[in-house]
Amino acid sequence: MFVQFFVPHKLSQDALKYMTDWMRIIGTFALVLGIGSLIQRHTARIRQRHRDAPYSAVALCCFLAMVVLGIGWKTEEGSPFDWGFTYVFMPLDATMFSVLAFFMASAAYRTFRARTPEATLLLVASLALMFGRIPLHQALDPHLAGVAEWIMAWPATAAKRGILLGVALGSMAMSLRLLLGIERSHLGTGKEG
């Protein structure tokens, strides 16, 4: 794929088409694999009377119910599947995520202390961003938003770009090590070749 990107020959284009089709087919099979793994794991827990077996039973029942509703009555708006998604899954998922706000508020209060120059810099930057993301007063807002935008567009982007390039180069190096068999720790040998 990497080489293909730089070669606009028909052979190369056909290879891309062929590989893309296979990627989609494999992607679909990954979904089947995931479902199989979910069923296997939770059935095993129930059979072994694990202490979390009741949760596994709930997970399996909900999964099967949604599959039956989806296949039996389709998934269009107003269908039983859609009802389950809108009135069960949506509030549960949203609640789980919104609870984070409380923990973040508590964590920010406990950890944001200007103990060192670096921590002070972090504290000042985070306060500037928090002020810049909210409407306070018409006279103040342009300045606060301007400072927040400047932090995001310049120092933070510069740091982020460095991190992105570092991660990309590291990923390429690791991929090459894996492909060439130099890195084998993922095979469970615990040693590098």
Binding site: F5, D21, M23, Y109, R113, M130
Partner: protein, 290 residues
């Protein structure tokens, strides 16, 4: 425990109650603040405004219900802008949880604009593409042939082969789409940039949750993204640009007071920390003085 130490150890339950109160109250009585529009938000708005009527815009819903409060308002505002400007809308998703989100958002806005007297027809002005697994494979496939990746599509609850919809006569590959807006709570915008943008030259804009905004500024500066909406504020700014304040703007009241309470607690904690440290230093120096 003296007052400075107390300031550093405020009961977390008090923080939880205050956060809950200041977020909930403005949702009941929503404010209508005037926001400072950030340049990345304006870039998305201006790009869509400059498109010729009839251009096709694809909106990709790569998020689930957990991120809906931040991303749904963006989706509503962008779909509304497209439909009222006579742009054609395709909704799609690469994330299985986005399947219902896209259909709900599209149907909701279509109903609203129809009630306002805007004439839009399913299959001609908007179309709902089904979920396809494979992420990058789907984007690469769209670069070759959209009809092959999506054999069927739905409009107004009716599913037909994709070629049967008039709207799809305009779209054969990703290059026929004037703008792809990826609304995401994961790293799919980078994938759209890498495969859709760099590989096929598609124009990409993104709308992401507030915690992710920083990840996409480098793409904005390199012009790999035409614009970027960030979190609830991005959604509220967009609503203000459209002149239709809605749920994004309502959320800004909660966000404003939530931020102010957190800032107040952080400042109190720091005041307590420095005062306690100063008191400890004085106490340590006291015997020497005496």
């Amino acid at each position: 425990m003296n007052i400075w130490e107390r300031l550093q150890r405020i009961d977390r339950r008090l923080i939880f109650v205050l956060i809950a109160a200041v977020v909930a109250v403005p949702l009941i009585w929503p404010p209508q603040p005037q926001l400072q529009i950030s340049p990345p938000t304006r870039q998305v708005y201006d790009f869509l405004e400059k498109l010729e009527p009839g251009s096709v815009v694809a909106i990709c819903f790569d998020y689930g219900p957990s991120s809906a409060p931040e991303l749904d308002p963006m989706a509503y505002a962008i779909i509304r802008q497209c439909l009222t400007k006579r742009l054609k809308v395709l909704v799609m998703t690469l994330d299985i949880t986005g399947k219902q989100m896209k259909t709900h958002a599209l149907n909701r806005v279509v109903r609203q604009v129809q009630q306002e007297g805007v004439k839009v027809v399913g299959g001609e002005d908007y179309l709902d593409l089904p979920y396809q697994p494979g992420y990058s494979a789907v984007v690469l496939g769209m670069g070759e042939d959209v009809h092959k990746v999506y054999p069927v599509a739905t409009a107004d609850g009716q599913q037909q082969p994709i070629g049967a919809w008039p709207l799809m006569g305009r779209v054969r590959t990703i290059r026929d789409i004037a703008l792809i807006v990826d609304l995401a709570s994961s790293n799919t915008p980078s994938m759209w940039v890498a495969y859709g943008g760099s590989r096929f030259g598609a124009k990409i804009a993104a709308g992401v949750t507030a915690v992710m905004v920083m990840d996409y500024y480098p793409f904005l500066q390199s012009k790999q993204l035409v614009g970027l909406l960030g979190g609830m504020k991005g959604a509220a700014e967009y609503e203000q640009l459209l002149g239709k304040p809605s749920i994004g703007m309502s959320g800004m009241g909660g966000q404003r007071w939530g931020h102010l309470v957190i800032i107040a607690f952080v400042l109190l904690g720091n005041i307590g920390y420095f005062a306690a440290r100063r008191a400890a230093r004085r106490a340590a120096q006291a015997p020497e003085v005496g």
